[in-house]
Amino acid sequence: MGSGELFQHLRRSLLEYSVVQALVEGEAYPADLIGRLGRVGLQVPEGTVYPLLNRLKADGYVEYRWEESPSGPPRKYYSLSAKGLKLAEEYRQAWEKLKKSVDSLNTSQNKHEKNL
């Protein structure tokens, strides 16, 4: 697995987390969401977001409302539900924990390497 591919793989696994976090900022149209992710260096193909949002909606984490678009058919604007907000918080805590563990793993590994 090349490093690019690895990054992609990780990104895909973390996509759900990223999308939920991006929605914490507020209501968004899928294209905006992609923009938010892109600005922080998480470029994903737009198409991947749609099935994900659909699943989150089915599970009750997100809601959407229709809004007229200045150019073309109406758009769906997504936002987190109360349940979704709770999920975002849970995710954030889990992520912090995971990050700490992985970081400490890295530092212990560094120490190990130094010891060799």
């Binding site: 294209a31 193909p45 737009e46 991947t48 099935p51 150019s71």
Partner: protein, 505 residues
Amino acid sequence: MKKTVQASVGRIPFIFEEDAYEVLKDYLHAIEQHFSQTPGGKEVAEDLEMRAGELLRETVAEGCVVVLNDVQKLMERLGSVKDITGGPTSSAPAPRPVVKRLYRNPDERVLGGVCGGLGAYFGLDPVWLRLLWLVMIFFMGTGLILYLLLWLIIPEARTPAEKLEMKGQPLTLDQLSKSVQEETSRIIHQVNTNRWKVFLRNVGQFGEQMIGYTRRFLQKVFRLLGGVLSLLSILIAALILFFLVQLIAGELAVFKINQSELVLHSPTDTVAWIFPTPWEGWLTLVALVLFLGIPSVMLAVHGIRYLTGRKQGMSWLNIPLFTVWLLMTGLLVWSGIRLARQFYSHQYHEYNTSWPNHWNVLNISMAYPTNEQEGLVLEAVQLHIFRNTQDSLWGLTLQKNSAGPTPTHAAALASAIQYTFHLRGDTLWLPPVICLPVGTKYRGQHVEIFLYVPEGGRLRFDRQAAEHLAHVPNVQGLEDEEMVPYEWVMTGAGLSCVGCKKKAE
């Protein structure tokens, strides 16, 4: 110059170049296929299509046609089918069935691309086919005619999808974009300077144009022919149906058997007089109506459907209707055989009488009887006239004939025929009709009258007799109808005209 296709993406109308359309169609189709299997997936596919429409609108300038490059950019942005559907592990989009069709190959063309297309279809190098064709030209030009015919009949593969079909390759996104790329590179490399090839290509282009005209002309001719044929079929069907309605209404029920004309003015009568049992009669009538009715209704329906251009329809009815029709045909054959057996045997009953010659001229009258008769009245009487070679009397033989299933039946039916004649003064009245009593069946009953005239006997006919004379031989060789106005005398040579001799003088 490229062909364009109009299509809407996410409710926004676009005009596509054909290849761009094919690629996008397949892309969206693959996505839709994938998501159709997951709950709520239809919505995702719709959202994606909406987004695709939006993106196209952003990238393609107003009034411009969507080209392949636009679609490729769009697909990069939205992600490949694999990205969207979550990799190859999830259920792959149902592939379209691989079809192989015969097309002319515009990429492998020397003249019309026939050999190229045949080669692609059979997996042969077109060069061998061209060689074969060249050889065939020397056999009375068979190759040339065959080539022109194939050029005319086989369509050209134009779109990338058709080209894949021609080669029998699966119609997938990868294959499509590969073939699009191949085509692009082929166009770039096609700058050919070989004079022969350029000449052949020009001939090919000219031929293509001519073939196009011919095809359009033939299409018009066929359409016209189809129109005329369908009009004709509607007309024929209408005539048959009209006949059937008349038959059921009893306006039309004429059976011509043994020169006698039987006119039955209702289906009930027909059943009663003709068929051995009533139920058999009704069954046969129903069978006849369906036997003629089903094909004519189908004919009319097809004709109308052709004229109105409606192709789909009640094809599910075809098999049951055909089965019924076959059944009815079988019934008619069975009933026909049974009916024919009713006419198997033939018998007659004879009655003889004679009179001395005590008149100057015998007037033969065949006027209709004036009294009403119970039963079936048939005009089935024939008069034969011969010379009496035995004595100087006038002889008359009345022969009542009938067919029947057995000789006994036939004989009984023959003697049951009601027929009376009489001689009053110098007038012999022979009614032209016979009567069958109620309760008997019609089995070809008819009456033959043989009149034996002594030499020197004179006779004359009335007007009605003309239709009932049985080709009476005479010296002058006149036809039956021509004999009526004259007086006739029996001579040694046969019946001779008296009146016309005077006229001849």
